[in-house]
């Protein structure tokens, strides 16, 4: 028997040879390279497979007219590198300052070739492990109890070479063009092959199927030379500046809307492409008709016998014949290479072009298979930026951190601060963090409170969808309550039909901050980590379950949330009330007084002054505090014991009247506590 077993394993070994890596990444596009960077930084055993000879093969072809619509802002007036990433939609994350896209292009909307060059540099400068010219054509599983996830992934390339991995990161993007089949669809040209030379369209009448950025980009290119362009699609046009979703029609491409609405010959139509049929007449002109008419007749009878809509309805909109019909319907994920055992299923409804994944970016069908990049957009489709470089560069990092914890026992990175730094740490992040800003409502900063709320732990950019699993996914403990910090648009502000320019759309006052419309920070406070059930039953349109308390920092025109009274003060009050403590700062003199008059000290005195780091303050500052009525000046008190204690207040009051400053009782600071 032993011999037989031996022979069997030998057979298996000799039959196929596997190259093993802990991590395999499919695709060396932006997401694949971004994942590779984090794996490399962590010193993991990984390989990236790229079917082309260079990274970013999608960008080598698309967009056809070569203009990227991701902004590349050269100047923001700030040197803060983290903040500047908020307005740099093309760079990948790395420690290398050379690898910022602004060093590659000065264009606000850069050329796609620049992206290809950038990705090449990213892979080579960072010495990422990319195996080019390797197209993975089949992926299957091999059960093994020793493996991280109970199975290995077996990958086969076009040369029948096999690879074996413990974890598979799919960053293959969506590259299979969407096509529709209707009678006459053979006359339709695809976006991927259509001519990009405007002269080829001179004097022609063009019909474009689709209403996305690629359709408008195609129209934009030929708008000046065609007779007219018609666009047809099932859905209405959605403008990204109204929906706040960068995947909708960007203003840079919407020239056709302008001419349509200004009485030019161009126009938009709504209709289901499935009902369409195209017939070609003898002159080669293309006529629009309905599938319905074709089904009722004998095909062989020739063009003349086909009923056209205008035969019955003589003002039918698309009765004019077209010279060309172009299909611009976007792309979908390539499901074909995955063995059935992986259960890679398309999503339902409007996310059917993406594979089904969980909020932690892991495939619903296979443990250990993570989807990164554009293909992972189902998590936040039509909501946030997870399908675009400026969004998925952060989700790739989040997935990497989850994997580090799951497979290598490296907990989610965190910093522990004393509670006095609570307001500061939030203000710092909401003002500069780019991941929170780009992946609004999807990635959240988490503050885990330590016992007695004397200290806290700060975790950056954790996926909100798996908040309930935080302890398991990060290796951190959340026993004493937590804050979740995310960015949100106003709940009723974004949408295809919304007027985003209405009067008084901006909230200016902190007390109305919850009605802020533009992107603004929102802080959720939970006494206990929400459960899976609470996550599931959260109110519609809420990214998170109903918290114990919530705070909105009022939207800001400059996205600069550092105003002491409008931004920081209400935040401090919120935090104070959640923690039931006093988070004010005090000068050393006040702490000195409290030390002698109170058994307990406020946190800033306890952690600062008593720890020998009291804030003495300059003479001017103390004077200002005295004038504000927030610090009492005892220097002019006389020693005659019979003088009533109030007389000093009187002089102070006088002093303040002279300065035109409203007097406020000092009880705020001292006496209120004695009750």
């Amino acid at each position: 028997l032993g011999l037989a077993l031996y022979a069997g394993s030998l057979c298996a070994v000799s039959g196929t040879t596997f190259l093993y890596h802990d991590y395999c990444v499919i695709g060396a596009g932006p997401a694949g390279l971004q994942a590779a960077y984090f794996l490399q930084q962590a010193g993991r055993d990984y390989i990236v497979f790229e079917r082309s000879h260079a990274p970013g093969s999608f960008f080598a072809l698309y967009p056809r007219h070569r203009k990227l619509i991701s902004i590349n802002k050269q100047y923001t007036g700030k040197s803060n590198s983290e903040f500047n990433l908020r307005h740099d939609w093309n760079s990948l994350l790395s420690h290398d300052r050379r690898l910022l896209f602004r060093h590659y292009s000065r264009d606000f909307f850069p050329d796609a070739d620049t992206m290809v060059r950038y990705l090449e540099d990213f892979a080579s400068l960072l010495k990422l492990q990319v195996q080019y010219n390797t197209a993975i054509i089949h992926v299957t599983l091999e059960k093994n109890e020793q493996a991280w996830n109970g199975h290995y992934f077996l990958l086969t390339d076009q040369d029948r070479k096999n690879y074996k991995c413990s974890s598979l990161l799919v960053a293959a993007g969506t590259w299979v063009p969407n096509v529709v089949n209707f009678p006459g669809s053979e006359y339709v040209e695809g976006y991927e092959t259509v001519s990009i030379n405007p002269e080829d369209f001179a004097g022609q009448t063009v019909l474009i199927l689709g209403r996305g950025n690629s359709a408008f980009e195609t129209a934009e290119n030929i708008l000046g030379v065609t007779n007219f362009i018609h666009m047809v699609s099932r859905s209405r046009v959605r403008l990204s500046w109204a929906t706040h979703y960068v995947g909708d029609l960007r203003a840079i491409n919407n020239g056709l809307l302008d001419t349509y609405q200004l009485k030019s010959l161009d126009g938009l139509l709504e209709g289901d492409l499935e009902d369409l049929a195209i017939v070609k007449d003898k002159k080669g002109k293309l006529h629009i008709t309905l599938r319905f008419y074709l089904e009722n007749r004998n095909i062989s009878a020739g063009i003349d016998s086909i009923t056209l809509p205008q035969d019955e309805l003589d003002n039918f909109a698309t009765r004019a014949p077209y010279d060309r019909v172009i299909r611009c319907l976007g792309w979908k994920f390539d499901f074909s290479i995955y063995n059935r055992s992986l259960r890679m299923m398309p999503g339902k409804g409007n996310i059917k072009k993406y594979p089904q994944i969980k909020p932690n970016y892991e495939s619903t069908g296979t443990r250990g298979l993570f989807v990164l990049g554009t293909a992972s957009h189902s998590v936040d489709f039509r909501k946030s930026a997870g399908g675009f470089i400026h969004g998925f560069r952060y989700t790739a990092r989040a997935v990497h951190r989850l994997l580090e914890n799951r497979h290598h026992g490296v907990p989610w990175p965190s910093t522990v601060y004393p509670i006095t730094q609570l307001t500061n740490s939030i203000i710092k992040r909401v003002n500069e963090a780019s991941g929170l800003y780009q992946m609004f409502s999807v990635l959240a900063d988490i503050i885990l409170l330590r016992e007695n709320a004397t200290a806290f732990e700060y975790l950056e950019e954790y996926p909100t969808g798996i908040l309930a699993e935080l302890e398991m996914q990060t290796g951190r403990k959340a026993r004493n309550g937590l804050f979740v910090i995310i960015m949100e648009y106003g709940r009723n502000f974004s949408g295809a039909d919304k007027d985003v320019f209405y009067y008084n759309r901006a909230v200016g006052e902190a007390q109305h901050a919850w009605q802020s419309n533009f992107l603004h920070p929102v802080i959720y406070y939970y006494k206990h980590l929400p459960t899976e059930r609470e996550m599931r039953l959260r109110p519609p349109e809420w990214p998170l379950p109903r918290p114990n308390a919530i705070h909105h920092i009022v939207e800001d025109f400059l996205t600069d949330w550092t105003a002491p009274n409008a931004h920081i003060l209400p935040l401090r009050r919120f935090l104070e009330n959640c923690l039931s403590t006093d988070l004010r700062n005090f000068f050393a003199e006040s702490c000195f007084l409290f030390a002698f008059t109170h058994q307990k000290l406020p946190p800033s005195c306890q952690q600062g002054y008593v720890g020998m780091q009291g804030l003495v303050g300059s003479q001017e500052l103390r004077q200002h505090a005295v004038q504000a009525g927030l610090l009492r000046d005892y220097t002019h008190t006389h020693f005659s014991g019979d003088r009533p204690p109030d007389s000093h207040d009187g002089s102070q009051e006088h002093l303040m009247r002279d300065h035109g400053i409203p007097l406020r009782p000092l009880q705020h600071l001292v006496n209120a506590k004695d009750e």
């Binding site: 040197s79 803060n80 601060y417 004393p418 730094q421 500061n424 009723n492 974004s494 039909d497 008084n504 901006a506 909230v507 200016g508 902190a510 109305h512 901050a513 919850w514 009605q515 349109e541 809420w542 308390a549 919530i550 025109f557 550092t562 009274n565 209400p570 009050r573 006093d582 700062n585 005090f586 000068f587 007084l593 030390a595 002698f596 008059t597 109170h598 058994q599 307990k600 002054y609 008593v610 020998m612 780091q613 804030l615 003495v616 303050g617 300059s618 001017e620 500052l621 103390r622 200002h624 504000a628 927030l630 610090l631 009492r632 220097t635 020693f639 204690p645 705020h668 209120a672 506590k673």
Partner: protein, 838 residues
């Protein structure tokens, strides 16, 4: 308090209800009768009714009608129904026929007329009820006009029942009504006597009474034994309202002295229930009779103000000072019982009266405070952080930053190599504490201008977050000194100009500094060497080691690294180390401590050799024996965790006091307290401390024992005693034995949020997920419409806007000023809360 009120209001209502045994007629308060015949035929013999007759059309009586209607319900509580009888035009009977009778109201019992009232005497509900009850209670309430009448009644009552005597300025007033209503309930229990004669009022009250306000006396005639003496009287001190009278009568009815034989914490009496304090006279078997007399005496004095109980210490095990003789229990829940040592009964009375006064004031204040609270709720947006406010008030002042080099990600590393020592302040330009420290840092720069080899610089972490995280700066502000080729030192002291300057100066020389010759060592102890530090007065510390003691030396050097910048440390390990140390009568390894410029040098033998012990020893040795406490040095002494024996002085303390205190402090090494003093001139905030302890500044100097860490009691050294070691020690012994009463106790309150936050959660009112399956139920919660081009849905979405606006307006008052995303230049309109136009 209010709960108690409710309780006995309801009991009063119950009494009233019980008192009216006469059945009510129907639910309507004002009966209508079609005709006089109908009315008189329906009268029952026992039923009381107030009737008025009105012609079918009579516009003139309208105001009177309204008043009578409003009092009808109250009268019904007393079994009186109010009836309006319509007179037919042709009726000429007794009540309807005469013009005169139509301006009157008639009170009937059955068909018998008791009293007729002119309508102008029934001007409001009070007068109607007062007059009607007055008529009904003719026997229960005696009306007197002269003092003799009153005395006669009093004499008759002596030994039988008590009397309630009331003066009202006029009948038909609210006070009159209150007295009559009380008489309705208590009339069978006590004899009620009423007068409107001002002369009678003057005869019955002590000082000049105000004739325009009502007055009520409870006369304890039941107990009166001596026919010659008038009954004891207890006046009602509050205004005459039904509630106050009821309360007063209830108190008068309670036993004078309650005898108690259980835990006073668990006792509850009528007094406590009515919100009055309860005084316990602590008694013992031997003195019981005398105590009982005292208690009764006190009880008479406090009648109506507090209850008195006699607590037998033999029966109850009390854990209080044996000397205590009086205890006070206040009605406030959770307040512990106060045990006191009082000299005479007057003190008991003052104690209670003061308490009541204080309480009254507190109540007033509370009301004010509540008002203030409301105001403050709207003041949530007013800055109450002294540091933030001070910094923002100072933001327009240009800081003298020329001396401070700005470091960036680009020049950070190159700049560090330029100077021997670079001081770097890491800060954030939006953070108040950072900016406050930046101001002190500027002063340091001015102070150290021209000091060779020191470069002051700053990094704004808001501009260069990468640099700050690379340097592992996680908190703002942070100050580091970078020395070429060495590890940087992070500053851990006070953020003050002096402390920082001293740190930077001390960091100039190595710590510890190796001294090469005996001369250097001597110069070092005198504070003359090294010359860089000669201007700097600090205690000098010199470690003396023979070459054999390397373990101690290593620990000393390591301690030097830790204390670098904070302590002036030298080290001597030449061959003649032994000679040096023996000069100060120790042998190596040893520490020599030179305080105040080397005038006195102390030798300390080193026995422990761990770094931690060494650091602790050095820190401890650097503390003064009898320090002057200042704002910057307090934390060092706080860390000892001991109570403070602190002498507050107006200026410098006198030689004598200083000598005595020093003797006290020196006499007990390893003592259990910190002996120190505070110069109010130098540390004026000390006035604030004294005021918090004594409300006024006591005569100075004043010696206090402050239990900072345990219990928080403050004891004041008797001012009549002179501050000598012996007196203090004797006093401390009494303190330890628990024989002294604290003057004050430090507040044990937690530091709660000063003001509430905006309750956005409530404003947002999201549907509770389990309860609302329809997402569209609440405004502002609609899911975005799928962009299907459904016009109806689109319209709904746009219609939503104004409704959202109006809710917002309800939630908050209109806006204040130009804060916001886009400042407007024109005057703001009424709405004012959203603005985006320029």
């Amino acid at each position: 308090m209010s709960a108690q009120k409710d309780r006995w209001v309801s009991s009063l209502v119950f009494l009233l209800f019980y008192a009216c045994s006469i059945p009510r007629s129907g639910s309507a308060s004002l009966q209508q009768e079609p005709s006089p015949q109908h009315y008189f035929s329906g009268l029952e013999a026992t039923k009381t009714s107030l009737a008025f007759f009105t012609p079918s059309v009579s516009p003139g009586a309208q105001p009177f009608l309204e008043q009578i209607e409003s009092s009808a319900e109250a009268l019904q509580d007393y079994g009186v129904s109010v009836v309006k009888v319509n007179c037919p035009k042709e009726d000429v009977s007794r009540y309807c026929g005469k013009e005169n009778a139509l301006r009157k109201a008639f009170l009937f019992r059955g068909a018998r007329l008791i009293r007729e009232f002119p309508t102008n005497a029934l001007f409001d509900a009070n007068s109607i009820i007062a007059n009607v009850l007055f008529a009904l209670l003719f026997n229960e309430v005696k009306y007197v006009e002269t003092l003799t009448d009153l005395e006669n009644i009093e004499n008759v009552l002596k030994g039988k029942s008590n009397m309630v005597f009331a003066y009202v300025p006029a009948t038909g007033t609210a006070e009159h009504r209150a007295v009559m209503e009380a008489a309705f309930v208590y009339g069978t229990m006590h004899q009620f006597v009423l007068t409107t004669e001002a002369a009678l009022l003057k005869a019955t009250s002590h000082d000049d009474p105000d004739v325009s306000s009502a007055w009520l006396l409870f006369c304890h005639c039941q107990r009166a034994t001596d026919p010659a003496q008038p009954c004891r009287r207890t006046a009602l001190a509050q205004p005459l309202t039904l509630l106050n009278i009821h309360r007063h009568l209830k108190l008068m009815g309670a036993p004078l002295v309650t005898e108690v034989a259980e835990d006073p914490e668990k006792i509850s009496t009528v007094h406590l229930q009515l919100g009055l304090p309860l005084v316990f006279i602590l008694s013992q078997k031997e003195t019981y009779e005398a105590d009982r007399r005292t208690a009764e005496f006190v009880a008479w004095q406090l009648l109506g103000k507090a209850g008195v109980a006699l607590l037998s210490r033999d029966l109850v095990d009390l854990n209080v000072l044996h000397r205590s003789n009086v205890a006070l229990k206040t009605p406030d829940e959770g307040m512990p019982i106060q045990y006191l040592v009082l000299e005479d009964t007057d003190e008991v009375i003052t104690l209670v009266e003061d308490k009541n006064k204080v309480k009254q004031i507190q109540e007033d204040e509370q009301e004010e405070e509540e008002d203030e609270d409301e105001k403050e709720n709207n003041n949530q947006d007013i800055q109450d952080d002294q540091v933030v406010e001070a910094v923002s008030r100072d933001k327009k002042r240009e800081l003298p930053l020329e001396q401070i080099l700005v470091l960036t990600e680009e020049n950070f590393h190159s700049s560090l190599s330029e100077a021997a020592r670079t001081v770097v302040l890491f800060y954030a330009s939006w953070e108040a504490v950072s900016l406050a420290v930046l101001r002190s840092y500027c002063e340091v720069a001015a102070h150290l201008k021209g000091t060779p080899g020191v470069l002051l610089s700053r990094v704004n972490c808001w501009d260069w977050p990468g640099l700050c995280s690379q340097e592992n700066v996680t908190q703002f502000p942070t100050i580091r000194i970078y020395k070429e080729g060495q590890q940087s030192v992070t500053y851990g002291g006070m953020w003050g100009t002096q402390e920082l300057s001293s740190f930077i100066l001390l960091s100039q020389v190595p710590c510890p500094l190796k001294l090469a010759t005996m001369d250097e060592a001597e110069g070092y102890l005198r504070g003359e060497f090294p010359s860089e530090l000669s201007s700097h007065h600090h205690t000098s510390l010199l470690g003396v080691f023979s070459s054999a003691t390397s373990e101690a030396r290593e620990a000393f050097e390591e301690a030097g690294n830790i204390l670098s910048g904070h302590v002036r440390m030298g080290m001597y390990l030449e061959d003649d180390a032994l000679a040096l140390s023996q000069k100060y009568s120790v042998s190596p390894p040893a520490l020599l401590l030179a305080r105040s410029g080397g005038r006195s040098v102390e030798g300390i033998a080193l026995s422990k050799h761990s770094v931690q012990d060494m650091v602790q020893l050095i820190r401890y040795e650097l503390l003064d024996i009898f320090p002057e406490i200042t704002v910057p040095n307090l934390p060092q002494y706080l860390q000892l965790g001991k109570p403070f024996l602190i002498l507050f002085s107006a200026g410098d303390i006198s030689q004598v006091e200083s000598k005595e205190m020093l003797k006290l402090a020196k006499g007990r090494p390893q003592q259990a307290f910190v002996a120190c003093w505070l110069n109010l001139k130098k540390t004026p905030v000390g006035h604030g401390i004294l005021r918090s302890y004594f409300s006024t500044t006591p005569s100075l100097p004043v010696l206090l024992w402050v239990n900072l860490h345990a219990g928080g009691q403050v004891f004041k050294f008797p001012p009549e005693q002179s501050i000598t070691e012996m007196n203090i020690l004797a006093w401390l012994e009494r303190l330890q034995a628990g024989l002294e009463i604290p003057s004050s106790t430090l507040s044990g309150e937690d530091w709660k949020p000063p003001l509430p936050a905006y309750d956005f959660l409530q404003m947002m009112e999201p549907p509770v997920p389990e309860l609302s399956p329809h997402p569209g139920d609440s405004p502002g919660q609609h899911p975005p419409k799928s962009a299907g081009g459904d016009t109806a849905a689109g319209d709904a979405a746009t219609r939503e806007e104004p409704s959202q606006e109006s809710t917002a307006e309800e939630v908050g008052s209109p806006g204040r000023d130009l804060r916001g995303t886009a400042p407007r230049l024109a005057a703001r309109d009424k709405q004012g809360k959203r603005h985006s136009e320029l």
